[in-house]
């Protein structure tokens, strides 16, 4: 469909000239797919403006032309043309074009083509909201997130990473700031520890509700470096309006430096916790053995009783 493509490009070029979004103060876009969203939104805005100006002028003309002092005798029939029907059909067609041509493919790309296997080389991050901030769990080079469970949660291991899981050995948990790599596809899996938060990266044209108990993936590709804010978009309690976090898009080498630092920090407390868990397990085992020895006879009689039933 080269024609359609041409038409789309012309439309895109045109809308760059007449960027209503910018006029309305829209934040600049820094992601690959964001352009398409902006074009579509701009198209919508032009469409709305055209309709509003059309309606508005009709309204104003009617109001002035047919006010009582100028037009004392009303016409029983009023409008006799069927122009409005054609207009209606036109509106439907334009809306259908926006829907089928832009909206559906765009959303399909966002949810169907998530680069989730390792060969895509995507940066995989879990973004977990809490009252009132964000934790970011990086899957690391192996592309696998380490196992995670509530019972491992401590003051430092905030996400409850299982220290014994080898998949977690290259994982990083960062708080408050999310680092991203320029031009690298990024998958954020958004969830929450407590209540519903909203994960909005406006410059990336990405947003997702963080709903506890579910994990929602979304992907995007940053196209310029910079530092922006992550906005919590759902009311999450008294500290909602202060729940700002940062995200930084940087080049790969800067990211690597940061990642190495974070990896050390994360693995330090994971190793420490692992040691504690192993120690505890040994102690438990010893105690169990001791108990078994002590209550051996009692236990036996219990079984005997059971058999009687």
């Amino acid at each position: 469909m080269p024609n359609q493509k041409n038409a789309e490009m012309t439309l895109a070029a045109l809308s760059d000239y007449f960027d209503l979004n910018k006029l309305m103060g829209m934040l600049p876009n820094h992601s690959e797919h964001g352009k398409e969203i902006d074009h579509m939104l701009n198209f919508c805005h032009w469409f709305m403006l055209a309709l509003f100006v059309g309606w508005g002028s009709f309204f104003l003309v009617s109001v002035f032309r047919f006010r009582k002092s100028r037009h004392p005798k009303a016409d029983y029939h009023g409008v006799r043309t069927h122009l409005s029907t054609h207009l209606e059909v036109g509106v439907v067609i334009i809306e259908a074009v926006i829907l089928l041509g832009f909206a559906l493919p765009l959303w399909g790309k966002r949810v169907n083509e998530i680069p989730d296997n390792e060969k895509d080389g995507a940066l995989k991050i879990r973004a977990i909201g809490y009252q009132f901030g964000w934790n970011f769990h990086y899957a690391g080079p192996d592309g696998k997130f380490g196992r995670q469970h509530i019972r491992f949660i401590t003051g430092s291991n905030v996400l409850g990473l299982d220290p014994t899981d080898p998949d977690g050995a290259d994982d990083v948990v960062a708080t408050g700031t999310m680092h991203l790599v320029n031009h690298k596809a990024t998958v954020t899996r958004v969830s929450s520890k407590d209540v519903i938060h909203g994960f909005a990266l406006h410059q990336m044209r990405i947003q997702q509700d963080a709903i506890p108990g579910t994990e929602a993936p979304q992907w995007f590709r940053p196209v310029s470096t910079g530092e922006w804010q992550i906005i919590c978009a759902q009311l999450c309690g008294a500290g909602h309006s202060g729940m700002a976090a940062k995200y930084i898009v940087e080049e790969q080498k800067d990211f690597d430096v940061w990642y190495k630092e974070q990896l050390e920090a994360t693995q330090r407390y994971l190793q420490k916790q692992k040691g504690e868990i192993e120690k505890q397990a040994e102690a438990d085992k010893a105690e169990l053995a001791k108990k078994a020895a002590e209550h051996g006879s009692e236990h036996g009689s219990g079984h005997g009783e059971k058999k009687e039933h």
Binding site: L41, H71, S84, L99, R110, I196, G213, P217, C232, A238
Partner: protein, 632 residues
């Protein structure tokens, strides 16, 4: 009434019975079964709540503009005196330790925000536009003596009243009222207030209040539909019904079928809150390190789904949007027809549009949930239905606009409000178009763009329609006109202020300002929305100005009751519909003599007639001799 009914079975219909049975004070003014009195009760209660809800917003606008700055002394003391420490923080000068004043706390902002939404929607607009005007006007317009079930009607008002009492009361319990948004999303709504009294806390009282409110709406809806279908006067065929009645009928049907799922959700949420069940509590919730927000362990076993609430809530709350707007469109239609002195353009298309709208409104709810991890198929379905629903909306608006063409427009106060409704509702509707798309929602979701969008629909939309309705039907209810000069002042002031209030919000939203920020983004989000922070104060001034303008209305409303110009005719607007055939104010039982309908609702400026309106009850000219014979 039972006594009266029994007496009447003996000697058939006696239409002057009401003259002999003047009810006592309580039966007449308080526990009335008369649909007009109940309508007025709804309207007055609703207006009170409308202004209360607006007042909450004016306080919120202070904190959005000024953050933690203390409120002006008088207002700070007054508000703290009413709402107490749970909502207002005491500010102390750090050096002198002297009390400086009170400011709205962050939690207090959430309380006001949640209650502003709840009150405006469920206690302001629906009671006025649907229950109030529906009760007062609809039976009159179809030529009925009363509602089909008068005692049920009273029960529905008192159920509503109980819900009002519970909602107001909830401000004064420990921890103040509900604070999780008017959408009350769990788990936040489930864990809020857990350290307070087990039942008498904001969150639980909110749910209890909603259960009573919903019950009231359900009873009302049953009554409205039955009345509409059964009690139409002879000759009032489906095609002759005023559009307002159709709008009320469709609204009642929406309430009847959409509200029960929210009631079931509210019951589930009550179970979660009171009995500790886990309908909306997923497994593995960790609040402040496995400990509840107030230092208590979470007692939920888990296994629930927070999204279930959202489905059930929006299954109501999207039809609810049409519950808010349809009665408004209905009122505007009546007023435009009357004041343009010509028939409504495309009556049949409008009624058809209503039915389509009603049907579609049940299958668009998930467009409020685009950000909850929606698959492409589901997303495609809901985007398509959402786009489809814009078609009947456009039909309604276009028909009303075209109705102006060729009229002889009489710009009295009701007409001003009704005419302004059209472009305002247009803005609200149009800005819904981008929001219908999932991809655009990636940027727009929960920004001020949304706020501006739906406020344009309900504030200069429905609330303007409500004002139009009050000015229009006031003479029928009170026998006096409201003052025109004050009315016009009220209109122009409101129009300017409300646009200054909501128009900049579109820009703010585009610039990334999100809703429910206690300080408007000053403390945390300056890096993102910095250039638009100044606008917070400007918008707040517009809000306060809008509040001030409403005082004119309140004054006009009360003053005109005693001093307003007395109406000289039962039909001061020279309208065609049946409500103007009754005495002013209409007595219990409404019509003096049995009424018959001969023609459509909007026979204005009929060619060949001697006056520019032909009431529905006026017999056709050629049958006049016959009528005269019957009378003789």
């Amino acid at each position: 009434m039972a006594h009266a009914a029994a007496a009447h079975t003996e000697h058939g219909h006696d239409d002057h019975a009401h003259d002999h049975h003047e009810p006592g004070f309580w039966r007449k003014w308080v526990f009335s079964t008369d649909h007009k009195m109940i309508g007025i009760q709804y309207i007055v209660t609703g207006l009170a709540f409308l202004f209360f809800g607006f007042g909450l917003m004016m306080v919120m606008r202070w904190s959005i503009a000024h953050g933690s700055d203390v409120l002006p002394g008088f207002w700070g003391n007054l508000l703290h005196g009413i709402f107490g420490d749970a909502v207002f923080d005491k500010a102390v000068d750090p050096s002198t330790k002297a009390m400086v004043g009170y400011s709205l706390s962050t939690q207090g902002y959430n309380v006001f925000g949640a209650m502003h939404g709840t009150i405006m929607v469920f206690f302001g607009i629906v009671p006025i536009a649907f229950a109030g005007f529906g009760n007062f006007v609809m039976p009159l317009q179809i030529g009925a003596v009363d509602m089909a079930f008068p005692r049920l009607n009273m029960a529905s008002f008192w159920s509503f009243f109980i819900s009002c009492v519970i909602m107001v009361w909830s401000f004064f319990v420990e921890g103040s009222a509900a604070k999780s948004g008017w959408t009350n999303y769990p788990p936040l709504a489930g864990i809020a207030d857990q350290s307070h009294h087990a039942v008498l806390n904001g969150g639980t009282l909110w749910l209890l209040g909603m259960v009573f409110n919903i019950t009231s709406s359900l009873l009302g809806a049953v009554n409205f539909i039955t009345t509409f279908v059964q009690l139409r006067a002879p000759g009032m065929t489906w095609g002759r019904l005023p559009f307002f009645c159709w709008a009320q009928f469709i609204t009642a049907y929406l309430l009847l079928l959409a509200f029960p799922p929210l009631e079931s959700a509210a019951i589930m949420n009550l179970f979660d809150r009171v009995f500790g069940s886990s309908f909306f509590m997923p497994t593995g919730l960790v609040v402040n390190g496995a400990v509840g927000p107030d230092g208590q362990p979470l007692l939920f076993s888990g296994g629930g789904s927070p999204v279930l609430w959202q489905h059930l809530f929006w299954f109501l709350a999207h039809p609810e949007v049409y519950v808010l707007i349809l009665p408004g469109i209905g009122m505007v239609t009546e007023i435009i027809a009357c004041n343009s002195r010509k028939p409504i353009w495309g009556y049949k298309a409008m009624v058809g549009g209503l039915f389509t709208l009603a049907f579609l409104s049940f299958i668009v709810w998930a467009h409020h949930m685009y950000m909850t991890d929606m698959g492409p198929k589901v997303a495609a379905f809901f985007q398509t239905t959402t786009i489809l629903i814009s078609v009947p909306s456009v039909i309604l608006l276009t028909a009303l606009l075209l109705s102006l063409w060729g009229g002889s427009l009489r710009f009295n106060t009701p007409m001003l409000f009704a005419a302004a409704f059209l472009p305002m509702f247009g803005i609200g509707g149009l800005t819904g178009i981008p929001l219908a798309f999932n991809a655009v929602d990636l940027y727009m979701h929960d920004t001020y763009y949304i706020i501006a969008h739906f406020h344009y629909v309900v504030a200069p939309g429905t609330i303007f329609a409500i004002f139009a309705g009050v000015y229009h039907w006031y003479p029928k209810a009170c026998g006096r006109m409201m003052n025109e000069t004050l009315g016009k002042l009220h209109f122009w002031g409101s129009l300017v202020a409300i646009n200054c209030l909501f128009m900049p919000m579109f820009m703010q939203g585009m610039a990334g300002v999100h809703r429910r920020w206690w300080d408007g983004g000053k403390s945390a989000y300056e890096a993102t929305v910095g250039p638009w922070l100044d606008w917070n104060l400007k918008i707040s001034y517009a809000a306060w100005a809008l509040g001030a303008v409403q005082l004119i209305f309140v004054f006009n409303f009360c003053w005109s009751m005693i001093r307003g110009k007395k109406v000289t005719s039962d039909n001061p607007w020279q309208a065609t519909t049946l409500e103007w055939d009754t005495p002013t104010p209409p007595p219990h039982g409404n019509f003096i003599k049995p009424i018959t309908v001969y023609r459509g609702p909007y026979e204005y400026s009929v060619p060949g007639e001697d006056k520019d309106y032909t009431p529905q009850s006026e017999p056709p000219r050629d049958s006049k001799p016959l009528e005269a014979k019957a009378h003789a």
